[in-house]
């Protein structure tokens, strides 16, 4: 891979800390980087803090009485911590949420218009100018269902629509929350391949938050593992795939005597640098 040291990360978190209701720490000391033209995956089980991390980045924390109490979010080198959600979108930081990802009372066509794309090349970031026909080329299924109400789409089709609308916002960084949730393996595979295509053809930086480690690691370049609100391990895809604990607890591969909870496993020191 190219040398990353000359490039500014598209997205960087520095020691991010989020607290719920002023007392309960949700995530702590979270640092990660997403370089341009790469897919980074954030793995972890339910409640590990992945969605909180995404929310902290994209500015929706207010909803849960949560606050960012430490650390920074840097987008294209600029601090954007706590900026209003729609402003971030207009700068090119777009989230594909886990739930409520399409407008159900609007048709597919209208969904693709219910957005305000980034209108400036911010910080010189060359952002793809996606046209509607290009979107239909990536997602041919949507072209067939143009006039259908989004509420009647299947899970996979909804996910496609959500990705398509996110694309039309002209993102520099795409945050994807639980792409695989509730979908059949074949559909998941198709979607992951699509995300990889977007990285390759459009140079997008993608942060893929996933419980389904296998599917994510199939396309990711780099990965972070979160547990109890902290990053416990990170590394390039191959290292993750080879790691014994990752294999056991997130990939469901390998055997150990008896059932152990992952909390019994020695905590790995969080690594800051690329390996």
């Amino acid at each position: 891979m190219t040398s990353f040291f000359e490039l500014t990360p598209s997205l960087e978190l520095e020691n991010l800390e989020v607290v719920y209701h002023h007392v309960a720490t949700a995530i702590q000391g979270v640092s990660l980087r997403v370089m341009p033209g790469s897919i980074v995956t954030l793995l972890g089980t339910n409640g590990a803090g992945k969605t909180t991390t995404l929310r902290a980045i994209s500015g929706f924390l207010g909803a849960d009485n949560a606050q960012i109490v430490g650390g920074r979010v840097l987008f294209l080198g600029q601090p954007v911590t706590g900026r209003r959600p729609h402003e971030l979108v207009r700068r090119g930081l777009v989230l594909v949420p886990e739930r409520d990802k399409v407008f159900e009372t609007l048709t597919v066509q209208e969904n693709l218009r219910a957005l305000v794309p980034g209108w400036r090349a911010w910080r010189g970031a060359d952002r793809p100018r996606i046209r509607l026909d290009q979107v239909f080329e990536y997602f041919p299924l949507l072209a067939d269902r143009r006039r259908q109400l989004a509420g009647y789409l299947s899970g996979g089709e909804r996910q496609m629509l959500a990705l398509a609308t996110a694309l039309l916002c002209r993102p520099a960084v795409l945050l994807v929350d639980e792409l695989s949730l509730g979908l059949a393996p074949a559909v998941i595979e198709r979607l992951m391949i699509l995300v990889a295509r977007l990285r390759d053809e459009l140079g997008l930086a993608v942060l893929l938050v996933e419980q389904n480690a296998g599917a994510a690691l199939a396309v990711a370049d780099y990965g972070y593992v979160m547990e109890h609100g902290r990053i416990v391990y990170d590394g390039p895809r191959d290292r993750l795939l080879a790691h014994a604990d990752v294999r056991e607890f997130y990939l469901g591969v390998g055997h150990r005597a008896g059932r152990k909870s992952y909390t019994d496993v020695k905590q790995y020191r969080r690594r800051r640098r690329w390996f």
Binding site: R84, P85, V94, L95, P97, F103, L106, A114, L115, V116
Partner: protein, 291 residues
């Protein structure tokens, strides 16, 4: 009888203009704007204000009153309703009730509650217009029907096809997702309030020229609220049949029944609708919980 039909259409148009305001704000922000009737009165008094400042210039006065009312709607959202975001809906509704009282009190403070007639100030006349079939309506009756038709056509095109209209529908359905799509939903909500102010102003301006202007016109807003509920509170399309039904019942009860029923006929229709089809003619079923 043609006169019954003619009067029904005229009364329905007035109700429709007001009901459109309720539906716009509800669709976008989930708030019942119970000050809509008083916003109609405000529009009428804006007309009076501009007309007294510049008599004999109807176009300017009407445009000015409409613009001022739209601005008032925008400011009402920005200053009163936006801070209520995140609070329970009924608290926001109570704010609108208070707003209505304040608007009315402010009008009485400035203009006392003498009945006003801006028609003369504007240099316009309101002659009778006989129609085919023997019915007679006034010129401003026709304007009211025309204004309602034009407003609904414009709103339909706006919400269906224009980018801002689609954004408004999106923000009305899921404000959070709209935010995640770069839509500044506060701006969109403020726009819906401005449109409600505009629709109310149309009703107020036309009524002030057609009948009279006094601070108590807001009670018509109450009847129009029943119309909005009959048509389905989240459906602009339902307003038209709802208004026609209510107006027809009102006119028929005067002609053939007890005239005193006329006053309560919007609410009788509402009662009937709630028993048969609580979400209104074209409302969405799930909206039921929110009302």
């Amino acid at each position: 009888m043609t006169q019954v039909l003619a009067t029904t259409v005229v009364v329905a148009s007035l109700y429709a203009l007001l009901a459109a305001g309720y539906v716009l704000v509800y669709r976008a922000t989930r708030v019942l704007n119970l000050a809509q009737g008083d916003m109609m009165t405000l529009g009428g008094y804006f007309l009076f204000l501009v007309a007294t400042a510049a008599p004999g210039e109807p176009a300017r006065a009407i445009a000015g009153a409409a613009a001022l009312s739209a601005l008032a709607g925008f400011l009402i959202y920005r200053l009163l309703m936006r801070p209520m975001a995140g609070h329970p809906i009924f608290a926001a509704v109570l704010v609108t009730v208070t707003l209505g009282i304040l608007l009315r009190a402010a009008i009485v403070l400035v203009y006392t509650d003498r009945i006003r007639h801006p028609l003369g100030l504007l240099g316009l006349a309101n002659p009778a217009r006989p129609l085919i079939g023997g019915a007679v309506v006034s010129t401003f009756d026709l304007f009211t029907v025309g204004a309602a038709a034009a407003l609904f056509a414009a709103l339909f095109l706006f919400l269906r096809f224009s980018p801002l209209g689609i954004q408004m529908r999106a923000a009305g359905e899921k404000p959070l997702l709209a935010s995640q799509r770069g839509i500044n939903f506060h701006l969109v909500f403020a726009l819906s309030w401005a449109l409600a102010g505009f629709a109310g102003a149309l009703a107020g301006i036309l009524y002030a020229n057609n009948v009279r202007l006094d601070p108590s016109l807001g009670v018509l807003g109450l009847k129009a609220f029943a119309v909005a509920l009959v048509g389905g509170l989240d459906s602009l399309g339902g307003v038209v049949p709802g208004a026609l039904i209510v107006a027809l019942v009102e006119v028929l009860s005067v002609r053939y029944g007890d005239p005193l029923l006329a006053d309560v006929s919007p609410f009788l229709c509402l009662l009937a609708m709630l028993l048969v089809r609580p979400w209104g003619l074209y409302g969405t079923k799930e909206e039921l919980e929110r009302v």
